[in-house]
C-alpha cells in the first residue's frame, strides 16, 4: 500500500511497471490515470490547473481512502500517486493501481478509490483560463458516483 504526493510530472507507465513487479503473483492488476483536461465543462480553455494541499492532512485523506478500499475488497496491493501544484493540460494528475487475486476486486477497488479521491481527498482545485481563475468543487455527478458505493454489498463491506 502506498500513497504519494508529487510536485513534478510522473510517468504512469513506469509507475505501473514498478507496481506490477511488486504485485507479483496477483491474478489481476488494474490501473487508472487521470489527466488534466484542456477545456472546462463550459467548453472554455484551461491553461493551468492548480492543486492546493495541506500536506499532512492531504496524505492522511489519501491513506484513509486506501484503507477503506483494502477493508472492503479482496485486494493485495494498492498505489495512489497524486500531483499538486501547477499542472498543464494533458499531464497526468492521479494514478491509482490495485492488484488482487481476481479481476473484479481489482476493478472495483480502483473505481471506489477514484470516486472517493474525487470527492473526499483534501485538495483544493483551481482552473486558470483566459477569463480568470476559478475554484472548483465536486459536481453532483461526483457525489452520485461516490454515493452508489453506500448502496452496494461487497464481500468485505462492513456495512453488511
Amino acid at each position: 500500500m502506498g500513497v504519494d504526493l508529487v510536485l513534478e510530472a510522473f510517468d504512469p507507465a513506469a509507475l505501473l511497471a514498478a507496481f506490477t513487479a511488486r504485485a507479483e503473483g496477483a491474478g489481476g492488476i488494474v490501473s487508472f490515470t487521470g489527466h488534466a483536461r484542456s477545456t472546462n465543462r463550459a467548453g472554455e480553455a484551461i491553461e493551468e490547473l492548480r492543486l492546493d494541499i495541506y500536506r499532512g492532512m492531504t496524505l492522511a485523506s489519501m491513506e484513509d481512502i486506501t484503507k477503506a478500499a483494502c477493508a472492503r475488497f479482496d485486494i493485495t496491493h494498492t498505489h495512489v500517486v497524486h500531483r499538486y501544484g501547477s499542472i498543464r493540460p494533458g499531464e497526468a494528475i492521479v494514478f491509482v493501481a490495485t492488484a488482487a487475486p481476481h479481476r473484479r476486486a481489482a476493478f472495483d477497488a480502483a473505481d471506489f478509490m477514484m470516486d472517493r479521491l474525487k470527492t473526499q481527498a483534501i485538495f483544493w482545485k483551481q482552473e486558470v483560463g483566459p477569463t480568470g481563475k476559478y475554484w472548483i468543487e465536486p459536481t453532483a455527478a461526483d457525489h452520485q458516483d461516490v454515493a452508489r458505493w453506500d448502496m452496494r454489498q461487497d464481500k468485505n463491506n462492513a456495512r453488511n
Binding site: G56, M57, A60, V94, T119, A121, W124, D142
Partner: protein
C-alpha cells in the same frame, strides 16, 4: 501579547495570502472566537467564507468550533474540498 498564526487553504488564501497572524492578549481561545477575530482583522475573509462550511484544522486534526486553540498550535482553515 500572544501571536496566533493561521494558514489559509484554497480560496480562503485569495484575499490576504496563505498565512495571516493575530495578536491577542489571551494565549488561548475557541475556534469560533478565532474565526470571529480573524474576520474582524481581515474583513475580506468574510466574503471568502460566506456560504462555505469552513473547517478548522489544529495540529493536523479537524476540530469543532468549541475546541480551544493555543498560541503555537498549527492552525489551518479549510474551505470545502475540491477532491483530487
Amino acid at each position: 501579547m500572544s501571536t496566533f498564526s493561521v494558514e489559509l487553504c484554497g480560496c480562503l488564501a485569495d484575499p490576504y495570502g496563505r498565512h495571516v497572524t493575530l495578536e491577542e492578549a489571551s494565549a488561548e481561545m475557541s475556534v469560533a472566537e478565532l474565526l470571529a477575530k480573524l474576520i474582524a482583522a481581515y474583513p475580506a475573509l468574510s466574503s471568502a467564507m460566506a456560504g462555505r462550511a469552513v473547517r478548522a484544522c489544529v495540529n493536523e486534526a479537524l476540530v469543532l468550533e468549541d475546541s480551544l486553540v493555543r498560541m503555537g498550535d498549527d492552525i489551518a482553515l479549510f474551505p470545502p474540498v475540491s477532491g483530487g
